[in-house]
């Protein structure tokens, strides 16, 4: 029992040390995120209320339930990932105990204690947010959903590690094709063929594109399609940040060959524009197909204008992501995704409210690119 508590204490102390080590950066980021979120809701409060009012009450409820389910899914998957990391990580408390010859019973008890703590914290926070801001489920429904979350957590934890991926034979070694193209095509290939997190987020982006068609087919207000478009743009752009984190961990290979910060960022700007434009085109088509079928193949100028508006909203995250990727720490995908979410909510909502919102992108770009100057070398 004493040794179990010692392991538990070590884990809390480790968390404390990490917080102490990174406190300034983490605190600044947390405060800045809070201020930006609050500003977002303050600025767009009236606009969002008007948009939400266009939805019927049952539809409003359904959106809240969908948001709750998404949050539960994310919570279950993240918790499973953390639990899995602790079980497998060579620097985890469990592995340390194993190396030091700790007996199996204590290690099993530690694993349970750790899992219960993590589940309590993450699931507790999730249910608090749902109950406070989204929807109130009946006690029975809550219990069933908590059971499903636990089941999902267990399933994700037990997923096989993936093993060795099947790689295609190498392309013939050719001479150089220009530095910019080499950097661009290397990353594109990594994102599409190798980086699993990137592949997953690109696939989720396609799902949200399908939501655009579905919501259009059901005749829901344009706001519903805009939300799906923003989600499609955001999740597909997440692929960029997963690749950035991977790139920066092996950045010495590129720094050594004289790749400058500007060239590195320029590559990501092109990649972001490519992803954004591809998904924007997908959103345009998804909306037009939905509108054509819903309106019995009658697509007028107004519908086309709305389709372009949806495409513009989808494009936003891809355009702004490279400007934010190195602001805090490019190796932290989670931090970058939160930053991108805030910026996307601001600019995406502004673009949806009025076309002139697009002007915000170059303004943000000129400031953001300056403030992250040189960080490819300092990451």
């Amino acid at each position: 029992m004493g040794r179990l508590l010692h392991l538990y204490l070590l884990w809390w102390l480790g968390l404390g040390h990490r917080l102490r080590h990174d406190l300034a950066r983490e605190l600044t980021f947390a405060v800045a995120s809070g201020v930006l979120m609050a500003t977002f809701f303050y600025v767009f409060n009236d606009f969002l209320n008007v948009q939400v009012a266009t939805l019927s009450h049952p539809m409003h409820e359904r959106f809240a339930q969908l948001a709750s389910l998404t949050m539960m899914l994310i919570t279950a998957a993240s918790t499973a990932t953390w639990l899995r990391q602790e079980r497998l990580a060579s620097r985890g408390v469990r592995q340390m105990g194993l190396l030091l010859g700790e007996d199996q019973a204590t290690l099993t008890a530690w694993s349970w204690l750790y899992a219960l703590t993590l589940l309590g914290l993450s699931h507790g926070l999730c249910w608090w947010v749902i109950a406070r801001w989204l929807t109130l489920w009946s006690p029975l429904a809550t219990a069933i959903q908590e059971g499903l979350m636990l089941l999902l957590t267990a399933v994700v934890m037990r997923l096989p590690g993936g093993g060795e991926p099947k790689l295609r034979p190498d392309a013939p070694l050719s001479s150089h094709q220009g530095l910019g193209f080499t950097l661009y095509i290397w990353r594109l290939k990594q994102m599409l063929q190798r980086n699993r997190a990137s592949q997953l987020s690109l696939a989720i982006g396609v799902l949200f594109l399908m939501f655009i068609t579905m919501t259009t087919l059901r005749g829901l207000p344009l706001f519903a399609q805009a939300v799906s478009a923003l989600a499609a743009g955001y999740t597909s752009t997440a692929a960029l940040y997963f690749q950035l984190a991977s790139d920066l961990s092996s950045a010495w290979t590129e720094r050594g060959s004289g790749i400058t910060h500007d060239r590195f960022v320029r590559t990501y700007i092109w990649l972001g524009a490519t992803l954004g434009a591809s998904y924007a085109l997908g959103a345009l088509l998804a909306y037009l197909v939905g509108a054509a079928v819903h309106g019995t193949c009658n697509v007028d100028a107004a519908t086309l204008g709305q389709a372009l508006q949806i495409a513009a909203v989808t494009l936003v995250p891809g355009l702004i992501a490279p400007m934010l990727g190195l602001q805090v720490d490019g190796r932290r995908s989670g931090t970058n995704l939160l930053l991108l979410l805030i910026a996307t909510l601001f600019i995406g909502t502004a673009v949806f409210a009025h076309w002139l919102g697009l002007v915000l992108i170059p303004i943000l770009g000129s400031f953001a690119l300056k403030s992250q100057a040189g960080r490819f070398y300092r990451a």
Binding site: D170, S257, G258, H261, G374, Y377
Partner: protein
């Protein structure tokens, strides 16, 4: 970027400092390296060897002073000058899901080499990476990955090669291959700087040895006139003498 005519040294550090105030300061470092030299750097863990290497490769901003390579000031924005350097970090992390062949091909393209189809297989052959060139790097052992990293650092035959603990993780065959490469580089007039904790390697391979202690760089003298056992003794004397004090962090 105007080059002074015929620089005296290939690599020069002028009043170079790096401060991680209030914990640690490296320098001021004043050094010059000529073509064909092989220099060893020794020092306790955390003494600043890797920081010095990061400064010499232009991958880290100096707090003050400058580094000149072939007469040109070295900064992160001088790609043509940086390509004169090959660098192997202490922990050479490589892209997880790429293969050795892909990483070497990619590196060769970044160096804008013209004969990629010859260079990549030649580097693979020298570092014995050919048998696993199609495997994802994440599935390879540390030593196998290190050989790919060494191949990458040397594929463009750099005029200045900086190796941070290159022998760690290599088996005897590849330690021998690395030693032969360093000797070959010296006879070809190419310059190498390396850090190692193995005194025999320093004694056998280096034409000079620097020690780092408390942020100060100091040369072990005399050196060239000593026999190999005497050199090893000199390194140990320096290490257990002046370097034995705990590093300020």
């Amino acid at each position: 970027m105007t080059a002074p005519s015929a620089p005296l040294h290939l690599l020069q550090a002028i009043q170079l400092t790096k401060s991680f105030a209030p914990r640690y300061q490296l320098g001021p470092v004043e050094l010059g390296l000529s073509a064909g030299e092989t220099v060893g750097v020794i020092g306790k863990n955390g003494a600043g060897k890797s920081t010095l290497f990061q400064l010499l490769t232009g991958n880290l901003d100096a707090s003050s002073g400058e580094v000149r390579l072939d007469g040109h000031k070295l900064t992160p924005d001088t790609p043509q000058i940086k390509r004169l350097i090959g660098y192997l970090p202490q922990d050479p992390v490589l892209p997880r899901w790429a293969t050795g062949r892909e990483v070497l091909g990619y590196g060769a393209r970044l160096y804008e080499l013209n004969d990629i189809a010859k260079r990549v297989p030649a580097a693979e052959a020298y570092w014995d990476c050919g048998s696993y060139r199609q495997k994802p790097l994440s599935t390879l052992s540390y030593g196998m990955q290190k050989r790919v990293a060494l191949a990458l650092a040397t594929i463009h035959e750099p005029r200045l090669l900086i190796l941070d603990e290159p022998f760690s993780g290599l088996d005897l065959n590849h330690i021998k291959a690395l030693e032969e490469l360093l000797i070959q580089r010296r006879t070809s007039g190419l310059t190498t700087v390396l850090s190692t904790h193995v005194t025999a390697f320093c004694a056998r391979l280096c034409s000079r040895v620097w020690s780092i202690s408390d942020g100060c760089l100091d040369s072990i003298e005399p050196w060239l006139s000593l026999s190999q056992p005497q050199r090893e003794r000199a390194i140990e004397d320096r290490f257990f003498g002046t370097l034995a004090a705990p590093v300020r962090r």
